[in-house]
Amino acid sequence: MSTFQYYRPQRFEELWQLMVEYNNAFSLLAGGTDLLVRLRKGRTNSRALIDIKGLQELHGGIQEINGGLRVGALALMGDLVDDARMQQHFPALVEAMKWVGSTQIRNRATLTGNICNASPAADTAPALLVYGARVNILGSLGERTLSLEDFFLAPGRSALNPHEIVQSIDLSYPETPNGSSFLRLTRRRGFDLATVSVACLLIPEAGRIRFGLGAVAPTPLLVIDGSGVLTQTESAQVAKESALAKLAERATPISDVRASKEYRQAMLFALMSKAQHIASERLNQSRS
């Protein structure tokens, strides 16, 4: 492994100082499940690792806030999947997290870390997008909050300034009744990166359906249809299909080692219809 300095600040003051000192040539270490692989393969130019687990303020876990949940930066995926409130209100996100690695990985990986890498294929991003997640950012100059949509800028690039960190992620309970689902296509079951992933949230009373799409655009993508066509059971099949196709067209997949552009496009449509189907079945179950 390449050599680097290791720091474990206890106070934010120290953190900001280190960030200035290393001016971009540092990596923040939380779970490290991604970072360690990159370090080993020499895929980072970091001269310092700043371990943020010494900062007590980031250990907030899962807190109830007005009308939702606040997930602290260091909250582990393993704890989030077991949380009853998460399971009840954000089932698609729980499903997405269950796809991440293994028990061992989820016991170490943080939800915040998963989005901070700003990978277009981040497993949790589509579900976080449909639930309208907001990212609370802390920096030496103060705090700000961004919607997750605005947080992703480009592959591997988030809206974080060099001297800022994510403090927590806020999730508001979606309007009820609702149904949600998550689907993910990979070459093999297990730890592979997603070829295409889709989260769906259906809110019939608002006539709204939200899809989060992963690995089909430079950033995870949120597409919304508020026309009601996709939420009414009596809509004609053709109308539904064309509304869905229109949403899928927003994606701009590329070809890579995992799949071709055409395959991704075709699978995206199939996955979206299936995700919608599952979400509406769940909705009906919750009603009966």
Partner: protein, 165 residues
């Protein structure tokens, strides 16, 4: 600060060592403490050969720095045996024939222990889920799952006996 002194409890024993900061926890366990029961397979978090219990939870030690273990409690396969007596899981693995080449066994045992510590009545599905991060190229998993079930039964009976007035 290329080296740092850390204090780690491993299998009940406290170790204070000065370690290079880029050393992984796996390297520290195998090469500094000479506890070679913990295996290196993939070195990238996929195979589970390097599984240890970290404050009671299964983690991949190849995915962590030794630095991150400072102040924490670790159990490796060497710590399963008590006073010369094998852990019920170890006994069951032998009895059922869940060990072939044995490379996955240390990690498997620790994932199994974590599973049964949390879910003493774990169903077969639960067991399979909890060992999904441990790859075995030999057994086809069935014997391993059986062995864990046998151990679970044994451990339940042992607690019954202990808890008798």
């Amino acid at each position: 600060m290329i080296e740092k002194t850390i204090t780690v409890t491993v299998n009940g024993e406290v170790h204070t060592r000065t370690v290079k900061v880029h050393r992984t926890l796996l390297e520290f366990i195998r090469e500094d403490l000479y506890l070679t029961g913990t295996k290196e397979g993939c070195n990238e978090g996929e195979c589970g050969g390097c599984t240890i219990l970290f404050d009671g939870k299964p983690l991949n030690s190849c995915m962590m720095l030794a630095m991150e273990a400072d102040g924490h409690d670790i159990l490796t396969v060497e710590g399963l045996e008590k006073d010369g007596k094998l852990h019920p899981l170890q006994e069951a693995f032998i009895e059922v024939g869940a060990v072939q080449c044995g490379f996955c066994t240390p990690g498997m045992l620790l994932s199994a222990k974590a599973c049964l510590d949390e879910f003493p009545d774990a169903s077969e599905d639960r067991i399979r889920k909890e060992i999904e991060g441990n790859i075995c190229r030999c057994t086809g998993y069935n014997r391993i799952v059986q062995a864990i079930q046998v151990a679970a039964e044994k451990m339940r009976q042992d607690t019954l006996i202990v808890n008798k007035p």
